[in-house]
């Protein structure tokens, strides 16, 4: 039977203490902090980051499908998962799908991936879940919602956690919703969703799957389930029959409610501490519930090098500036920078280059062995070697996973940026090759010639309906 083969996660670098938001609106209190995606991140870029974490030591070309789950897909028409799959360097033959519009989309994607693996139509399926929901300024949702992503590989070989059963309930209960042209999530009175939905339906689903597997709550090492507030989350665990020690901490005060990604991120955290033989319960919530029973195998010891949740929690910087977040999310209109207007992004040019640009391929010269990037205004495909001038004698060479060192940088206050100054960086890659990138997730003060950086897939800009993705560098922090 199919199970989980690998996991990965991503938590954005910046954390905003809830007290900073409270203070901005003259409200009292605010416990804990939320992880906030930088201005150049979105569910596609975060899926790529988590996906790369899950692919450590695994050839991306062995993946047969990418199922991307989010309620905040950047595109309504254009396959989000295929953009992520291309950046992750998955094969062109992958069967990709976007699972959207429901907080349960992450577990639904995982169940669909398990079905595909069990049916034999795909051997290795990547499931990513990422969300960036927006709460209206000064409301509860704004303080509740955090950003993050999880990724899993699903398959039948080298399984780290077997799937013993699943149980799904679908119910059109609209405790939260958002129409297609709206920015902010809406809620009905919280009590309604909690009392009639969240505190009943997951119990029903959990009981269903336990009955199916012949298990009781005491058979589980950890229960991982969605929660939008800590008290209700604790109460639900208790109602399900779990002791406090069995309930996996739901990240609400360190990351926040990451929507469709939350149950899967909680599962990653549980897997990081799990031992062979541990049984885990996973429950999502949103217009119903998916309940899944997993049993950890001894293969899990082989993939302990993921950044996952734990290491990402430690890689952080406190954002003490709420206005910056408003700017990053486009919540307030800003004075337009006095720079030349961008000409429209060329879709034909993007298409011509995307197989090399999105996965960050350069080339290696077969004659002289020099690794090199080529990034003209509109091309990534070198034809003539910069070292030995051999023509068309290249093999593909991917830079996305290479680390590098800063050869030079500047902090440009004139350039367009939502996080000024724009840190223009020249990166010398380990193993050869150089490229010029923006540096993100950086403190200008920490930049130095020679510092180590890694590559990160980001949204470069949004213009005329087009999200432009490419790679940036960021300080290597582990």
């Amino acid at each position: 039977m199919a199970g989980i083969v690998s996991y990965g996660a991503y938590i954005p670098y910046y954390r905003l203490p809830r007290s900073v938001i409270s203070k901005a609106w003259g409200q009292p209190g605010g416990r804990g902090e939320i992880a906030v995606a930088n201005y150049d991140e979105d569910p596609i870029s975060m899926s790529v980051a988590a996906g790369m974490d899950s692919l450590r030591g695994i050839d991306p070309k062995t993946v047969d499908a990418l199922f991307l789950a989010t309620t905040t897909a950047p595109y309504k028409e254009r396959q989000n998962s295929t953009i992520a799959a291309t950046a992750l360097d998955l094969s062109r033959e992958t069967r990709n799908a976007d699972f959207t519009n429901c907080l349960r989309a992450g577990t639904t994607a995982m169940l669909s991936a398990l079905d595909a693996a069990n049916a034999g139509s795909a051997k290795s399926i990547m499931v990513t879940a990422a969300d960036m929901r927006l709460g209206a300024p000064s409301g509860d949702n704004e303080q509740n919602f955090g950003n993050g992503a999880a990724a899993f590989l699903v398959g039948k070989e080298r399984v780290i956690a077997d799937i013993e059963g699943s149980y799904t309930i679908s119910e059109d209960m609209a405790d939260t919703w958002r129409a297609h042209d709206e920015v902010f999530v809406r809620n009905w009175e919280e009590r309604f969703g909690r009392e009639e939905g969240y505190s009943k339906i997951p119990i029903e689903a959990a009981a269903g799957v336990m009955k199916q597997c012949g298990l009781t709550p005491k058979d589980f090492a950890k229960a991982c389930f969605y929660g939008s507030n800590s008290r209700a989350h604790r109460a639900l665990g208790k109602s399900m029959g779990f002791t406090p020690e069995q309930i996996q901490e739901p990240l609400l005060d360190t990351v926040g409610n990451t929507g469709a990604a939350l149950p899967l991120m909680i599962l990653v955290a549980a897997l990081e501490d799990a031992k062979a033989g541990d049984r885990l319960l996973l429950c999502s919530w949103g217009n119903g519930c998916d309940a899944i029973v997993l049993k950890v195998t001894d293969e899990i010891e082989k993939i302990r090098d993921r950044r996952g949740i734990k290491r990402h929690l430690d890689i952080k910087r406190t954002l003490d500036n709420y206005e910056k977040l408003l700017r990053w999310r486009g919540t307030v209109p800003m004075e337009a920078a006095a720079r030349p207007a961008k000409s429209p992004t060329s879709m034909s040019s993007l298409w011509r280059e995307h197989r090399s640009a999105l996965p960050l391929y350069g080339v290696k010269c077969k004659k002289c062995g020099t690794a090199q990037l080529f990034m003209d205004f509109a091309s990534t495909r070198a034809r003539v070697c910069l070292e030995c001038f051999a023509k068309d004698e290249f093999e593909p060479y991917r830079f996305a996973t290479k680390k590098g060192k800063v050869a030079s940088f500047s902090h440009d206050y004139l350039a367009l940026s939502q996080d000024p100054p724009n840190t223009l960086t020249v990166v010398d890659f380990d193993g050869g090759g150089r490229g010029s990138f923006e540096m993100t997730d950086r403190d200008p003060e920490e930049c130095q010639v020679g510092m180590e950086v890694e590559m990160t897939f980001r949204k470069i800009f949004f213009d005329k309906g087009v999200h432009n993705y490419f790679w940036k560098c960021k300080p290597a922090r582990d």
Binding site: A338, R339, P340, A341, K342, S343, P344, T345, S346, S349, L350, E353, A357, Q372, L373, F374, M375, D376, F377, A378, S379, T380, L386, E387, A407, S408, F409, S410, H411, D412, Y413, L414, A415, L416, S417, P421, N422, L424, T425, V426, D428, G432, G433, R434, G435, S436, F437, E438, P444, Q448, V449, G450, I460, F461, D463, N468, Y469, F470, K472
Partner: protein, 405 residues
């Protein structure tokens, strides 16, 4: 073996407008003013011009951008665009045409009017549909890379490096204050320069040249005609070397590039010195106008041109070697720092300064009441343009001088 332009053509007349934010003037106005100054200086009529090379990056697309305002009648005109080397390349092509014997009298002229766009800094659309591949960057952001790495490589503290490049701008402002054609005509104290707002760290406001409007023109002819035209006046100025070097633009992709120099300047300078028969540029060149788009650009250019030893330009800058009263005055008119940089005109504006100094006429454009800005008995002057970024650029290096120099 390439041939040499040395002494095969001469400049019989030049013109240059006031540079600045000429909200009052159109590009056509500036062209007419510069061209007619040059015609008058050379003692010719517009109808004597047999062919023209017209440099502009954004004010016209074809030769008609020149023929229309000047009412030139059916002569051949080539519009030239080669980034910041545009005007110098127009001049170079006009020189070659005369040297080839095809024309007796050619006009090289450049203009740009960059500030009708509503933005500060350099504007203009990208040459290709915009793409995600190039990081967001500006000219100061790109040139600041030189400063970051130069400071790091030669162990200069931020304060030491900042003072070095600040001293470059201090000197240029001092020179520009004397020149009534300059956009900025005032001295700026070191303290102001050092404490100015950052534009692209580590470059502050006074490390950056301005953007302005202006036009400059040259009448190029044979040595014989030039002498005849200038009989009884100051001598013609002879062309000694004209070199262009197109960088392969691989500095951002090739680890070998060190971000502390500009290789195409080195190459163009070596070729120019060979063409002009110069072996010790620091001693033989009497003055220079170089591309000081940013203060750090001028600093490394001094090393690239062989004026200062590698890594040692700081000593020359701080000791006043390049000051107007120093051994090798650089930017005697204030440079791009004080003239601003109408891209299509700057190269010929630089030649205009060399021409005036060589003829002993620098005080023609002296600010009233200021001490003389004339350099004593210069024989050879060098001009240099850098179009692009340090890691990929078009470089022009030209040398002009008096007959026999």
């Amino acid at each position: 073996m390439p041939g040499s332009i040395k002494d095969r053509v001469a400049i019989a007349g030049m013109g240059c407008t006031k540079f600045g934010e000429r909200w009052d003037a159109s590009a056509d106005d500036l062209l007419v003013d510069a061209a007619y100054q040059a015609f008058e200086d050379a003692g010719i009529e517009p109808g004597d011009v047999q062919a023209a090379w017209f440099g502009t990056t954004s004010s016209a697309n074809t030769g008609m951008g020149l023929s229309q305002p000047l009412r030139l009648q059916y002569i051949p005109i080539t519009r030239v665009e080669n980034a910041c080397a545009t005007a110098s390349d127009a001049f170079r092509n006009a020189c070659y045409a005369v040297a080839a014997g095809i024309y007796d009298i050619a006009l090289a002229i450049g203009v740009d009017k960059l500030k009708d766009t509503g933005i500060s800094g350099l504007g203009g659309a990208q040459p290709n549909p915009s793409h995600v591949l190039a990081p967001e960057s500006t000219a100061p952001g790109n040139f600041a890379l030189l400063a970051t790495t130069y400071f790091s490589r030669y162990g200069l503290s931020f304060d030491e490096g900042k003072h070095m490049i600040g001293r470059v701008s201090y000197k240029s402002h001092k020179n520009g204050a004397l020149c009534r054609n300059a956009h900025f005509q005032r001295e700026v104290p070191m303290e102001t320069i050092l404490n100015a707002p950052m534009i692209a760290w580590p470059l502050g406001l006074y490390d950056c040249c301005g953007v302005s409007y202006g036009s400059a023109a040259a009448i190029i002819t044979t040595p014989e005609i030039a002498k005849k035209l200038r009989k009884g006046k100051e001598p013609p100025v002879f062309v000694k070397a004209l070199q262009i070097s197109a960088h392969p633009r691989d500095g951002k992709y090739n680890q070998k590039y060190d971000y502390t120099h500009v290789e195409s300047t080195v190459r163009a300078a070596q070729a120019a010195y060979k063409e002009a028969g110069i072996t010790k540029p620091r001693q033989e060149i009497n003055m220079a106008e170089v591309h000081d788009c940013f203060s750090i650009t001028e600093a490394v250019t001094m090393e690239d041109l062989g004026f200062s030893p590698r890594g040692k330009v700081r000593d020359d800058i701080e000791n006043g070697f390049f000051d107007l009263d120093g051994k090798l005055p650089v930017q005697p008119d204030g440079g791009l720092k004080c003239f601003g940089h109408p891209i299509g005109a700057s190269g010929i504006r630089m030649l205009y300064e060399m021409y005036k100094q060589l003829q002993g006429r620098a005080d023609d454009i002296l600010n009233p009441g200021m001490p003389s800005r004339q350099i004593k008995n210069p024989k050879l002057g060098l001009t240099h343009n850098l179009g692009g970024t340090p890691d990929g650029c078009m470089i022009f290096v030209g040398i002009v001088g008096l007959e026999g120099a």
